[in-house]
Subunit: 142 residues, 3 copies
Amino acid sequence: MSGNRHTLELQTRKPQELVDLTSAVQAWICKTNVQEGTLSLFCPHTTAGLLINENYDPTVKQDLLDQLERMIPVQGPYRHSEGNAAAHIKSALIGTTLAVFLCEGQLELGRWQGIFFAEFDGPRARQVWLRIETKDPLLRDP
Amino acid sequence: MSGNRHTLELQTRKPQELVDLTSAVQAWICKTNVQEGTLSLFCPHTTAGLLINENYDPTVKQDLLDQLERMIPVQGPYRHSEGNAAAHIKSALIGTTLAVFLCEGQLELGRWQGIFFAEFDGPRARQVWLRIETKDPLLRDP
Amino acid sequence: MSGNRHTLELQTRKPQELVDLTSAVQAWICKTNVQEGTLSLFCPHTTAGLLINENYDPTVKQDLLDQLERMIPVQGPYRHSEGNAAAHIKSALIGTTLAVFLCEGQLELGRWQGIFFAEFDGPRARQVWLRIETKDPLLRDP
């Protein structure tokens, strides 16, 4: 894979979980040596998503999962026979693509923000695809 | 319109519907001959949206529309007088922009993913705007 | 900050509010003199978001905030102790990133669309970060 693209592999541990990817994403950006540009993230799964929210107080993550569960319960009047209809709906609402700016080789996030993988039908082996659009030369091919 | 931009025209058939755009989008990408880049999609309507989800089992689409209807019913205590307040709210939640990577001239989607136009106030003539950011030369001007 | 990046400062006035940013964003684009490209918008806050929806009838904005409040009430069975758990959840659902195309120096929006900052825990001083990806030369450094 070329120097501005990467696949992040992760293993979720619970049926529903928010996994903080910020450090892993930043570590890859450092390897690319890109200083300026826009990072796009893509979740290739239909029962998971990507979001940016507070990564400081862990109750925020639990509140989000609990409220989504109240709004879109796992058990509901769904037609899809695989038992994960709610996970598909949560994925569609949370979304599967994000974009974050890079400046001086660092993710530009707000003070309290982290990048999260939202697992709605785990535990599973998952991927997140990363790509940087930049005018910088790509110095390394990690 | 220049070679990296395109307007997809579609006609929705129902009041609420998910229309799979994946083949039409891929067909246009083939015409551009772009091999590597990022495709951005934009929905210029305020009562519709764009999402990526499963395109295999059609019950997933129906479950999504039904659950959104339970959460945000067409008939509700809304002030907007045109009768489509719920459609505006669904559009804001589902979102109107997406980004998908291109590799070797193909949309990079997960195994079960498709790109959908989400109609919430149809049937109507609708558009989706496409644009590719790429370093590739644009060989054809379709 | 370089010519293709900008920070928009705003002061929200209410606990929950949609602030139309369209004119302010367009004004900055005019200053950059960029004609073609893609504008990315990023909300660096965890209790606010960005969305595109109707900017004509103000009841649409009120309906959206009211319905979100019915779905995710400020007072609820949350664990987060700061009293703004609902604002975090709304932010995650509405999303914090957007992309809009530029053509001939103008934001390409649908006829009824505007770009909104969604305040869910105001009033506060807020920012929106803007960045243009373009092949155009950047003529001015505002």
